[in-house]
């Protein structure tokens, strides 16, 4: 393993652009720096350019402009097979004509490794993903989850420093997916591998990653640890995309001492935290997380801002209640409350008063 003198820059994208057809930029001005050992997730809607970024890193697509560096070395001119990057494909791409053991042995063979060493490594890698008993089978004889593990083992068996995974859990059912999410993170941390993980599933991104890069329209909209991403979305796209979110539209009246006064479209005035609004008169979208909204007067915190609301729908979801309200002309206002013993259940048609703290209410771009 080569020592990276600057551990803060194991993988670097610098002003990378990519166009397939010469007309549209699929990746626009991508800048990204990853330290060694980080688990970074690229999260974004389908078509936002995540796979393209991964393919450029792996060497199957060339950047139209910009520089990609691995461990300080520009890799634009290194062919894929010399990059030493492990990769897990969405369809696993296990070679169907080889057994599981042969699949794992393949990267070692092309590195001219001796037979006994190969067997040893294959065995260790299979044991690592708890597939030790399946070495003699063909991929077609395995279930989806098992194939997934083998694909993972194959990407790791030759001990790459960087592993790329393109929606590796997309084809699995929910339960299996959660189990694999955990295993992948565990392996990545145990082995100290730097991982770039692509997904369009936000839960996956939040639970697995050290940092998440939210992609949209060929740009990184926000690059932050999961908690920050959820609680402090940098713009309304991120707020909408990550988790559930209530949006109220309005106009900034004034900004004072880090508090923005926003007049909602039905005339109500509320206090918000200004995130990317700078001057009065600007249109804004105010974002409030459903679980930060309170309607129980006794629990309402000091300094909470209150508004009138009408209950439209009450949905019992077991651990929580999900209630749809009409607030300031918005029929899609959702609140979530824990199913606690003293919690009151709302009934449709009921007129209530809801409230939240000004710091939970973020004035974002319109």
């Amino acid at each position: 393993m080569a020592d990276a003198s600057n551990t803060n820059a194991f993988v670097e994208f610098e002003r990378v652009q990519k166009s397939y057809d010469g007309e549209n930029l699929v990746v626009k001005d991508l800048n990204l720096t990853m330290p060694k050992g980080e688990f970074l997730t690229m999260l974004g809607p389908s078509g936002s350019g995540k796979t393209t970024c991964l393919m450029m890193l792996a060497g199957f697509e060339t950047a139209t402009h910009g520089d990609i560096r691995l461990d300080g070395v520009s890799i634009n001119n290194i062919p894929p097979h010399k990059r030493g990057i492990g990769m897990v494909f969405q369809n696993y791409a296990l070679f169907p004509h080889m057994t599981i053991a042969e699949n794992l042995s393949f990267p070692l063979e092309v590195r001219n490794m001796g037979k006994s060493e190969r067997e040893q490594k294959v065995k260790r890698a299979l044991d690592m993903v708890e597939m030790g008993a399946f070495g003699g089978r063909r991929p077609a004889q395995l279930s989806g989850g098992q194939q997934q593990r083998v694909a993972l083992a194959r990407a790791l068996v030759f001990e790459p420093e960087l592993v790329l995974m393109d929606e590796p859990l997309g084809a699995l059912d929910k339960q299996l997916r959660e189990k694999m999410q955990f295993e992948i993170t565990r392996l990545a941390h145990d082995l100290g591998i730097t991982t770039v993980y692509v997904t369009h599933d936000q839960t996956e991104a939040l639970t697995m990653s050290d940092r998440v890069a939210v992609f949209d329209d060929g740009r990184i909209q926000q690059l932050a640890p999961p908690d920050q991403l959820y609680e402090e979305p940098a713009n309304s796209f991120v707020a909408q995309f990550i988790g559930e979110n209530n949006t109220l539209e309005g106009t900034v009246k004034e900004i004072n001492n880090g508090i923005a006064l926003v007049q909602l479209d039905d005339g109500e005035l509320i206090d918000c935290k200004p995130i990317n609004v700078s001057k009065p008169g600007e249109r804004t979208r105010v974002s409030i997380r459903p679980e930060r909204v309170e309607y129980n007067k006794e629990r309402m915190q000091e300094g909470a801002h209150t508004l009138k609301a009408e209950v439209l729908e009450f949905i019992y979801m077991g651990d929580i209640f999900r209630t749809r309200l009409r607030v300031a002309g918005n029929d899609e206002f959702i609140i979530k409350t824990r199913n606690a013993p003293d919690q009151t259940r709302l009934t449709p048609g009921q007129q209530i008063e809801i409230g939240w703290l000004p710091e939970d209410c973020r004035a974002l771009d319109a």
Binding site: H81, G84, G86, M87, F106, A155
Partner: protein, 541 residues
């Protein structure tokens, strides 16, 4: 894996066994399915299965000899072919009786040609003998008539030989098939048979009646021989018949009758009838079934000690089979070599471009086979396009133009071109199903372009190669028109020889045997292919 722990059969809701109830439910479905395929089934049966069965049958069938020469075939069995002497007199007599009937039915030339395949020259023996068969025994006619004028009357013969029941049942308008009397059959066995065959032949062939015609000469010969062998025979008869017979019998006993033998008659017609080899051939091929065609097709012949390989100069079919196989193999290999990259490109292009190029691949299918083959003639001949170009470029001297047609090269080139689409199509459809991510995966794992192709892509494309190869090879092995047109003498296939025997030499038995061998070879290769490659590994898409 279902474990059935209960004892009795599973029952349906109404108490009938589930199996029966299921079978009943499926029966209607099966019948309907069967009705749908019935027209095709019938068509295939009539136009394909039955002809093949007929062909297989023809390759061993040899009834013509025993049907045409029934008495000879029986008589010759007692003769030892290795004795080196001609068969005894009864065999020649039997041949005389058989031949006169065959000549009347015009079948003698056919049996002659059949035996001629095995021993050239026999055909003319039969032709000549057939023409003059009714002369054999002619000397007796005049003598009999002189001894008793009753012999001039057809009625005398009828009274001797005919079954009284037949006589009473017949009328001039409606005559049943002649029946011989038991008395005659016992007293004059050979003559009875000869007369009966004559009588029935003229009834069937000429619509004549034995009551109005004199028998042909061999009947007299048979009668003479019977009376010579058994002078007491006339006593079995009565009346005029007895008198006529007695007159002849007495004269024979007194040595007053000038005799002749069938042997002399045949040798006089052609002295080769005395050649034991002719008779060996006849005896060898007297059975109703023969392996002769197959031996012939494998360059064997029947010699003194059973089957033996033909002399080197006469072997043709072995070489021809081998050549057909090798050239088909060469064509298959060149189709793979030329077709693989094309299929690869087609499979990796965007589908719109691929479809366009596919039309180019399929273009040959829209042109007549004959036109394409003729085009190759124009290209490859010595004054053709390629030679002209090479000469013009100075690569080849004008007096040393390459010979590229009417030889194996020409056949291979033209057939590769013609069969190429059959290779490309299955390869293409298999390659299309190979996900490009496999190649990417291989490269990401550290494989060079070549290793990735060879270890990952190629093995997955093998089923396409397999399907294409088997298609091309089997089509090539039976190809006829192209080798015929551009193959010359060195580049023809076994099918050209089969066609020759079907349409020119008219030796259908041999053609059938060659065809059967070809069929077996193809099936054997298919079997071997299944064992080696595995037929599951063949995909057409």
């Amino acid at each position: 894996m279902s474990d059935t722990t209960h004892t009795g059969p599973v029952l349906a809701a109404d108490g009938t066994p589930l199996k029966r109830s299921l079978a009943r439910a499926l029966r209607m479905q099966k019948i309907r399915a069967l009705m749908l395929i019935a027209p095709l089934l019938l068509f295939v049966l009539l136009t394909f299965i039955l002809p093949i069965a007929d062909m297989l049958f023809r390759s061993v069938e040899n009834k013509i000899v025993s049907d045409t020469l029934p008495e000879t075939v029986v008589a010759v069995q007692d003769w030892d072919a290795d004795s080196g002497v001609t068969p005894p007199a009864p065999v020649f007599e039997a041949l005389a009786y058989d031949l006169v009937v065959a000549a009347e039915r015009k079948e003698h030339t056919r049996v002659g040609s059949r035996l001629n395949y095995e021993n050239p020259g026999i055909s003319s023996l039969f032709r000549k003998a057939g023409r003059r068969a009714d002369d054999i025994g002619k000397v007796y006619i005049k003598q009999f008539e002189k001894l008793d004028p009753a012999w001039k009357e057809p009625a005398t013969f009828v009274s001797i030989f005919a079954d009284p029941a037949w006589v009473s049942s017949r009328s001039d308008d409606a005559e049943p098939l002649f029946e011989v009397s038991e008395t005659a059959a016992a007293a004059l066995p050979k003559a009875s048979t000869a007369y009966t065959r004559w009588a029935r032949t003229i009834q069937q062939e000429d619509n004549d009646s034995p009551t109005k015609e004199d028998p042909w000469a061999p009947v007299y010969l048979a009668l003479h021989n019977d009376l010579a062998a058994n002078p007491q025979a006339p006593s079995a008869f009565g009346g005029d018949a007895q008198a006529a017979l007695q007159a002849v019998s007495t004269a024979i006993a007194a040595g007053e009758v000038e005799t002749t033998t069938a042997y002399d008659a045949f040798v006089k017609i052609d002295e080769d009838w005395a050649d034991p080899e002719v008779w060996r051939t006849l005896k060898t091929y007297s059975g109703a079934y023969t392996n002769g065609y197959f031996l012939n097709a494998a360059d064997f012949q029947k010699g003194a000690d059973g089957a033996e390989l033909r002399p080197e100069s006469e072997r043709i079919y072995g070489t021809l089979f081998l050549r057909t196989l090798l050239m088909s193999l060469a064509i298959t290999v060149s189709c793979i070599v030329l077709g693989y990259p094309v299929a690869w490109i087609l499979a990796n292009l965007p589908s719109r471009t691929a479809n366009l190029l596919m039309i180019l691949v399929l273009l040959p299918f829209w042109t007549s086979l004959l036109v394409r083959t003729s085009a190759w003639k124009v290209m490859l001949q010595q004054q053709g396009v390629i030679n002209d170009t090479l000469v013009w470029l100075g690569l080849v001297a004008d007096d040393a133009r390459l010979v590229m047609i009417n030889n194996q090269f020409g056949t291979i080139v033209a057939m590769t071109h013609i069969l190429l689409p059959f290779m490309i199509l299955p390869m293409y459809s298999v390659m299309q199903t190979i996900n490009p991510s496999y190649l990417r995966a291989a490269k990401s794992l550290g494989a060079t372009n070549w290793t990735a192709f060879w270890r990952v892509y190629f093995p997955q494309s093998v089923p396409g190669i397999g399907a294409g190869s088997i298609l091309v090879f089997i089509l090539a092995i039976g190809y006829y028109i192209t080798p015929e047109l551009v193959g010359g003498t060195k580049g023809v296939f076994i099918s050209n020889r089969i066609a020759f025997h079907i349409s020119q030499s008219l030796n259908w038995g041999l053609a059938a045997a060659l065809g059967s061998i070809l069929l077996v070879v193809v099936l054997a290769l298919y079997w071997a292919y299944d064992k080696i490659v595995g037929i599951d590994n063949v995909k057409l898409g």
